[in-house]
């Protein structure tokens, strides 16, 4: 019963139980880090966002509403925190603090096979360039492989809206990725 465990952990965190936070990290740390990594495509930034996410969980566990799943709540926090971090990065890019050529970053997933790295790089770069809502719908559906209903709950949208966002995201990716994935 993972939901019961998750909820018990959140209740523990709300009471200031540090061990409950460790357990929650053990269960969901990888999920949080990987989602942030897909958005930010830089391990140090994904690490920073993961820290922010668990700090927010620690602070706001008391306000967790039991009507949604803990994973849905966690995904909502990680998506919002990642999008905020991306906006900050774009602002820094506009003001010249970071080079515009590093946005999107030169990234391939650390677990990609050597022979697939170029394709992987093109794919993640194309995902990075998607508009925010299309990106979130795509990342949650195809990278995190969440059921559509849960994606809708995370994004606070209807199923129909999610299908629409996915259709537009896939169309855009198809155009961008045609040279890298000719089949």
């Amino acid at each position: 019963m993972p939901q019961t465990t998750d909820r018990a952990l959140i209740a523990g965190i709300a009471n200031g139980d540090a061990q409950a936070l460790r357990e929650l990290y053990k269960m969901h740390g990888e999920r949080v880090y990987n989602t942030a990594l897909t958005y930010l495509q830089k391990s140090t930034d994904a690490e920073e966002v993961s820290q922010d996410v668990f700090t927010k969980v620690w602070r706001s566990a008391a306000g967790f509403k039991a009507e949604s799943q803990v994973t849905t709540w966690l995904y909502r926090i990680v998506v919002n925190t990642s999008l905020t971090a991306l906006k900050k990065r774009q602002r820094r890019s506009i003001f010249g603090t970071i080079q515009a050529s590093h946005d999107p970053p030169d990234f391939h997933h650390p677990e990609a096979k050597m022979e697939e790295r170029e394709e992987n790089k093109a794919l993640f770069s194309a995902i990075y360039r998607l508009p925010d809502r299309q990106k979130t719908a795509f990342v949650l559906s195809y990278v995190e492989e969440l059921p559509r209903q849960q994606v809708a709950e995370v994004m606070g949208l209807s199923l129909k809206a999610i299908e629409g966002l996915l259709m537009r995201a896939k169309k855009r990716l198809r155009i961008t990725l045609r040279p890298a994935f000719p089949d």
Binding site: R22, G29, S43, T55, W58, A112, L123, K170, F181
Partner: protein, 86 residues
Amino acid sequence: MDNIYQHLSELPRAQPPEGLLAKIEARIGQAKVVALADWRQFAAAAVLITALNVAALVQYSQYESATFPGVAAVDNPIVSDYELYY
């Protein structure tokens, strides 16, 4: 496009860096300390402002009584010798 979805679904999750949990715990600990420090700083600032106000009031009242004593107490020859001429 099917290749893309297959590629994504076959991609294992990346491992978070070794010390991530320790950093999270440190940040949470720091947040607590900062919150406490903020409260203490706020209290110290309030005490300091009150003390400065009290000191200013005391000093002002001392200055007032030294500079402007009661009219009866002023020994002013100009006033005492003053006469009206019609």
